[in-house]
Subunit: 318 residues, 2 copies
Amino acid sequence: MVIAETNDTGNWTSEQICAFENIQLSPASTALNYGQTVFEGMRAVKTSKGKIVLFRPEENAKRFRRSAARLEMPPYPTDQFVRGITRLVRSEIRWVPPFGKGSLYIRPVMIGSGPMLGVAAAPSYTFYVFVSPVGLYRRGEGKLMVQDSTHRAAPYGTGDLKAAGNYAGTIRPQRVAAQYGYKDVLYLDAKHDRYVEEVGSSNFFAILKDGTLVTPRLLGSILPGITRDSVMTIARELMGWKVVEKGVTIDEVLSDASEAFFTGTAAGIQPITVINYKGTDHQIGTGIMGSSTKRLQECLMQIQTQMDPDPFDWVREV
Amino acid sequence: MVIAETNDTGNWTSEQICAFENIQLSPASTALNYGQTVFEGMRAVKTSKGKIVLFRPEENAKRFRRSAARLEMPPYPTDQFVRGITRLVRSEIRWVPPFGKGSLYIRPVMIGSGPMLGVAAAPSYTFYVFVSPVGLYRRGEGKLMVQDSTHRAAPYGTGDLKAAGNYAGTIRPQRVAAQYGYKDVLYLDAKHDRYVEEVGSSNFFAILKDGTLVTPRLLGSILPGITRDSVMTIARELMGWKVVEKGVTIDEVLSDASEAFFTGTAAGIQPITVINYKGTDHQIGTGIMGSSTKRLQECLMQIQTQMDPDPFDWVREV
């Protein structure tokens, strides 16, 4: 793993690579008491050309800074972020699965490590990154469940950050959905209970019957996914589709979507085939992965694995 | 501090008292990655009779269990909770300030300590309690600020739990309020942006001009404060006031409140004298602590410090 800490002047020490070992933390740390913790999720993959690559790591660095700032945590320098991760992946290169067999998942974390009795920013911080090889994303049936009595995030809260505290509350709804045979939860907005927000920790897209690709606009409660941004860019610029960020109601999805899918770093692009809303299953389109979803999925994967050219300069060899 | 851990069968080991020392934690723990952390805040005080007492510790134990359950964490036995804290306070009795000079703040915490790469419940948990002497609550001016672009919690989210992740997002709004000369933030509800929810990490009360004591009803986004409950009980049963839990709009507070105050374990009962709403300062009542607020404050304090009888059986000698 990589580790760095803030020093007495509040600046970051240069990052060290060390063995994966326990973190030592004050029982009064703000990470453990007040959730002053942010993270990122990234992947290193072996490509068709035999290279090891990261996908848009500068975007993760930027989002990491933004998440930290909202929780009054110090900015971590973008170049140091990318350099530390590049060094770590190089040193753990034996753990990157072969082409097409999975990826090395990368988890950068920043925690408030210093003690603070009241609710306030910590006096010191720790940055670390660990990695773990993971297999291919397990494709499920693409069945999602809207739960009446659950919201993920308030408007103007912390829902648009990768803050640790956004996730603990999703464990129970996800388990309930799984019990009923659904892959994950489809969250509606907290204000109107009508607008689609996210799928667990993935972004939501629908292709309407007129061919428009729609996705919920970012109004402060939805994570600005990097795969989300990549999908919109590919759809607009490589496919020539009409792409609209807007309020997407659940009724519109159920009545007017011919395809739907969710996106994330680990998931890539995964089809949504059924949505349970108010106790009733609604099939989306034909109930299997649609052809447009499949085209997007392949296009993204082929850019990420150097099978296709990289017109947007997204892929970084380590 | 007190420490206990879940064993291989998921049950809690009996609690140990040990020196205050760093916690060892996996970098992949759910506490650090997904905010699977809950806590409580309690106080031990030396009373007018020279005893050391806790205030309604069983209520903290119950809320702790409820918080843990919502985050898919194991229940911590109520008797073990109270026993561990009682043992700890006894062993640290020299740190309890003299009568009237402050208290020993007690912080029970439960964290997901085992590693989990995806968003899911941890395989193992750690419970710990640490204590710190604190002085009297620093009385401020009682000026609060409503911030347009901030919400604390979504309805049906985790706002009604003492989950660590609810607090990191309040650090920045609190700092902004302090910069403008306000003591804390008054949060409105995320759905209508009209109903008063909480003051930072304290509950809100207003005394209307007709003498009714009102406080926001608990609909899933407001912490069910133990001081809140105690204040309602005292007002109803000792003062004979009319007490109503209901939706309390900010407009109603500004136009119809003759007094307002906030409550919490550390704060006790503290007056609210000014509320800034949409950029304008509104004075509440006479702009100083009202006589009814003062009566409640003294009544609660006198029960807590054994100056008055304890009609509700709230005080526990350790």
